[in-house]
Amino acid sequence: MAQAELTANAMTTADGTPLKVSLRRAMRRNKLIAFGLTAPLLLFILISFLMPIFDMAMRSVDNAAVPEAIPRTVQALEAWDGEGMPPDAAFAAMAADLKEGQKTRTIGQAATRLNYQESGMRSLIMKSARRIGQYEAPWKAALIDIDDDWEDPAVWKLIKRQSGAFTAAYYLNALDYTYNEEGEVVEQPEYRQIYQMLFVRTLWMSALITGLCLLLGFPVSYLLATLPARHSNLLMILVLLPFWTSLLVRTTSWIVMLQTEGVLNDILVWIGLISDDGRMQMIYNKIGTIVAMTQILLPFMILPLYSVMRGISPSYMRAARSLGANPLVAFWRVYVPQTVPGMGAGGILVFILAIGYYITPALVGGQSGQLISNYIAYHMQQSLNWGLAAAIGTILLGGVLVLYLIYNRIVGIDNMKLG
């Protein structure tokens, strides 16, 4: 009954089509136009942003190089239970793979890949590949003759372990873990542990830099928002000036300022605060990274804060004063809470930028001031271990997303104001 009445009462347009249908029809055109206008941007983002991220995520688990280069060995080891020596067939398969790989030049990649797991693997495989052509069956004796490492079951276990198309090894590596000979996940030996420390350092240094930016940026933003236009425009130019200067110039000028023979130390010696032999090491260490990055990221804190503060009418402070609050209480209880969206926006912006910062720590960080991204760059450019670089990068991305979610939960992303 009720159902029938509802349908009977459903609104229709003059020609009898249900109102909902014709509304949808009218909206479809608008939607199509809107989509058409945004399609180029969507495509651009897809190609230049999402696909690289996807590719990176894939690279961090990709292990295709090994099964592609030594398919016969992989197959032969499948039946092996990992106890004692592998069957002779595995040696024969390896010999065939090495010969083939030497010809097609695919063996090098697999050798490099296995070397990440255990140094020495690359030279073992490359040497064997070069010399296997001079040998005849039986292959077991031949390989052992080339290098007696082939007698070591650990080598075969390693190959068996790394013969899948995907691997978690890069992630383990990025978190200072590895497989032991039994294939169990264990911590890296102490002298090889570095990434956990780097992640922790990157996090606390970014947090410290964010805090310093807030501390320094808040008064500047406040002045910007409250000074008469004549003065605040000048101040705004000073804030924006760094954007018009190359990042490299700004970073290197900090070297001039902070180095042991630099301006700051000279001044301190000159006014007698420190002795000439007591010059302070303020660059090529954590201090250098923190100082330079704080200065470089400061505008990203100031601008969102400023835009929020400008929207706060002076009548709030006046109202608070007229209600009996002294200037400090009025500021703390009425003004500051209203700047929280700006602090959130600036804070998250600076923190995310800091966590991925690369050039400045590379130039002024020395050894102790390097951040995780410097190691990503190292693995991209020097060691060419892209899988590890991708794994570190993906962990970093995941960390940022988690922080973003936490922020959203606590502050609410709708409250964030960037401009």
Partner: protein, 362 residues
């Protein structure tokens, strides 16, 4: 001076730029329990006066007394003056109750007492159940009432309001005018109210100070201000008003004879604010005091007029005529039984009493 004055301005002057005086030699007192309105066009210095009283601007010269003591050096938060701002200035990050509790908290009142007072203040503005809302969740009128409640919750003796109803639509504004008026009467606080809306000022005030360019043109009760404006500006600013220009021919006691410009004729008027015989003057005449086809010899001033326009407004008919060389002359014909019926283009005789026509400054 008088014990009964809560506020006194003595020779107060204010300049922002060192070149022009925004407030020029202000002498004003506010009686205890009074509702005093500062009325004037935009830019006439009303807000400046209020801000000096609240302590947000410093007088360039002169003295302000609150309860008989000079407050020039007392910071705003120690003056104990409630204030309602035009944009309400309700703290957006606090609930309504927290907003109201704020002045009590900074006065270190106990939580229980504060909550009681907050509830009483909310009930006073008939928003008792709205304590947990945020200001953004209230309509304009409700925000306005909360702002009033917040300015009153800490029991100030004096409340300042700067165009508090400016942002509301007409119906709501009128409703709020009465509400504020009632709150004032029931609490007995003194109120200094700023507006540029003369009908609002007439509705609410005990006394009105009409401002122009930093000077009080007249300070009087609403009826007196309307009936007996002291100069042409006040007559023009308060209510509707016909203005005729002329020259004083001769003065006899309280009345005078004025020769209108453009051979408009001569008019008998009250000599209020002229420079004496031979000086230029503006005659001020309320539209509702002009009668159509008056009885012969009933009034001294009778002229021939041509009807230019009739506008039907329900309770009265607004008629524009040209008379005495002036075609902006307005008459209000009340829509009473047996009122004069006239048509556009007709010639009629109009007249007014000498007592209703005031000769003011030029």
């Amino acid at each position: 001076m008088a014990q009964n004055n809560i506020v006194e301005f003595n020779h107060v002057q204010k300049s922002y730029d060192g070149e022009t005086l925004v407030v020029k030699d202000l002498n004003l007192h506010v009686e205890r329990g009074e509702f005093l309105t500062l009325l004037g066009p935009s830019g006439s210095g009303k807000t400046t006066v209020l801000m000096m009283l609240a302590g947000f601007e410093v007088p360039t010269h002169g003295e302000i007394l609150l309860n008989g003591t000079p407050i020039n050096n007392v910071p705003p938060h120690k003056r104990g003056i409630g204030m309602v701002f035009q944009n309400y200035a309700l703290f957006p990050h606090m609930t309504v109750a927290e907003n109201l509790r704020f002045p009590l908290e900074v006065r270190k009142m106990s939580r229980a007492d504060a909550d009681k007072k907050v509830q009483r203040a909310l009930d006073m503005v008939r928003l008792g159940n709205f304590g947990n809302r945020r200001p953004a969740q209230l309509s304009g009128g409700q925000q306005q009432r909360i702002a009033v409640a917040r300015a009153l919750v800490f029991d100030p003796e004096l409340v300042l309001m700067d165009e508090p109803l400016g942002a509301l639509d007409k119906n709501l504004r009128e409703e709020m005018q009465f509400e504020i008026k009632h709150i004032h009467e029931s609490l007995g606080v003194s109120v200094v109210y700023v507006t540029h809306d003369q009908s609002e000022a007439l509705t609410m005030s005990n006394r009105i100070a009409v401002f122009e360019e930093g000077v009080i043109q007249q300070l009087a009760a609403p009826d007196q201000l309307y009936e007996e404006p002291r100069n042409a500006f006040v007559a023009y600013f308060i209510g509707e008003n016909n203005r005729l220009r002329g020259r004083v021919k001769n003065v006899n006691g309280t009345s005078c004879t004025v020769e209108l410009e453009n051979q408009g004729g001569t008019v008998e008027a009250l000599n209020i604010n002229t420079g004496g015989q031979g000086s230029d003057t503006t005659l001020s005449l309320r539209p509702e005091r002009v009668s159509v086809n008056p009885d012969a010899n009933a009034v001294p001033n009778v002229f021939d007029a041509r009807v230019e326009e009739l506008i039907y407004l329900g309770d009265h008919i607004r008629t524009r005529v040209s008379v005495c060389g002036n075609d902006e002359f307005v008459i209000k014909i009340p829509n009473a039984q047996g009122h004069a019926t006239i048509k556009k283009g007709e010639n009629v005789r109009i007249g007014w009493a000498m007592e209703d026509c005031r000769a003011l400054d030029a």
